[in-house]
């Protein structure tokens, strides 16, 4: 509705519309015409994402689409699982208290070895969970490049 009102009271000159549409359509045309660039982009993208998750490289797909007033890159990257290094380290289970013979009632508590509080291995601060990347939208605003 707002768009409609904007257009009604401040109609954009058609040359401005034309310029904008041309910019986008030429960007799409250029991307479609540069398959080697797209392949390199795809390879680099898979390499980066593979640092965090295992991906099915054969099924990865990168396409470009025009959405509203931007050209968007759509990456479809099937994820097979988390990489071991990327898993947040789990806290070690608490050590069970050491087995001791039942002390005679009179045994001083002092005889019992000190039982520290439930031993917890020092925990490093939780590593930030890597974001699951299944789709990545990037607005591309570059001027069209010529080969």
């Amino acid at each position: 509705m707002l768009e409609f009102l904007k257009r009604l009271f401040n109609p954009e000159p058609s040359s401005v519309t034309a310029r904008e549409r041309l910019r986008l359509v030429l960007l799409s045309d250029h991307l479609a015409l540069a398959p080697d660039v797209v392949e390199s982009l795809k390879a680099d993208l898979i390499a980066v994402i593979s640092k965090y998750v295992d991906v099915d490289a054969a099924q990865c797909d990168v396409t470009f689409e025009q959405q509203d007033r931007v050209v968007a890159m759509l990456a479809n990257i099937p994820i097979l699982g988390m990489k071991p290094a990327a898993r947040a380290p789990r806290p070690a289970p608490p050590e069970p208290p050491p087995m001791i013979d039942a002390a005679p009632a009179s045994a001083t508590v002092a005889d019992a070895p000190d039982v520290p509080d439930a031993a917890v291995a020092p925990v490093a601060p939780a590593a930030p969970k890597p974001r699951r990347r299944r789709r990545r939208r990037t607005g591309v605003n570059a001027a069209p490049a010529h080969g």
Partner: protein
């Protein structure tokens, strides 16, 4: 001493390649250069018609390539320019597959020995006819109008020319300053920015072009037309001169009322 070999192309049809080829050739010839214009639009020839030479065609480029005549026999001299302007017509009853790229390039090579400028009028499209026309060229002039489809096609053709390493210069044809002012047409700046090509010329829309084409007279010969001056400037720029672009004013109220264009 070999000629400059220039292809005039666009991708989009109907933007003024043939008009530009004919008039640029005429303007160069008027400056004393020896010019040969080659019509690469086999099957839909029009360069002859635009120059009013259609009745003088005896042989065409296909017959040259097939060895049925000598190159010189196929050239038609335009007597209005003394010895300075000739055309090599296309065939009308064949199509663009009648000539290969190598054959076309050889014809241009041969022509380049006998003139200062070999200017090739490229057909619309980016297929066989385009590849032939470009095969013999060392430079390109891309013609576009300030319209969305034309610019898109020009962009595509510029990409193809870049692949072949041809230097490119742009002619923006049929611009209407009144529509640019009212925001209804892309401006010269818009077009140059979108296509990123060096500007060679800006030619306004002019109803006299239709009349002169009807008569087979290149408008470059009509001294009173502002387009003659514009094509002369384009020729000078092509020769390497720095020539500023004319500011195009919209026809004023009175001239619109009286039906004439100003300036």
């Amino acid at each position: 001493m070999s000629a400059r070999r220039i292809v005039v192309t666009s991708g989009k049809g109907g933007v003024g390649k043939t008009t530009t080829t004919a008039n640029l050739g005429a303007a160069l010839a008027l400056r004393g250069k020896r010019v040969v214009l080659i019509d690469a639009d086999i099957g839909l020839r029009n360069l002859d018609l635009v120059l009013g030479l259609e009745k003088r065609i005896v042989f065409d480029i296909v017959e040259v390539v097939e060895g049925r005549c000598q190159l010189r026999q196929a050239l038609i001299k335009d007597k209005r320019f003394g010895e300075s302007l000739s055309i090599l017509p296309a065939a009308q009853t064949r199509d663009k597959t009648a000539v290969t790229e190598n054959q076309f390039a050889k014809v241009i090579d041969d022509l380049a020995e006998m003139c200062d400028y070999a200017i090739i009028d490229c057909p619309a499209g980016i297929e066989h006819g385009f590849r032939n026309a470009v095969a013999g060229a060392r430079e390109a002039i891309v013609v576009t109008t300030p319209e969305v489809s034309a610019i898109r096609d020009a962009d595509r053709v510029i990409g193809k020319l870049n692949e072949r390493g041809l230097p490119i210069r742009l002619v923006i044809n049929r611009i209407r300053p009144d529509m640019v002012r009212s925001g209804d047409m892309l401006s010269v700046e818009d077009v140059c920015e979108i296509l990123s090509a060096e500007l060679l010329g800006i030619v306004p829309d002019d109803e006299d072009v239709i009349d002169t084409t009807n008569r087979g007279e290149p408008i470059a010969l009509r001294a009173e037309s502002r387009l003659a001056g514009i094509y002369e400037k384009i020729a000078r720029r092509l020769e390497g001169e720095i020539v500023p672009f004319t500011a195009l004013n919209a026809p004023n109220f009175l001239s619109r009322f009286l039906g004439r264009k100003a300036g």
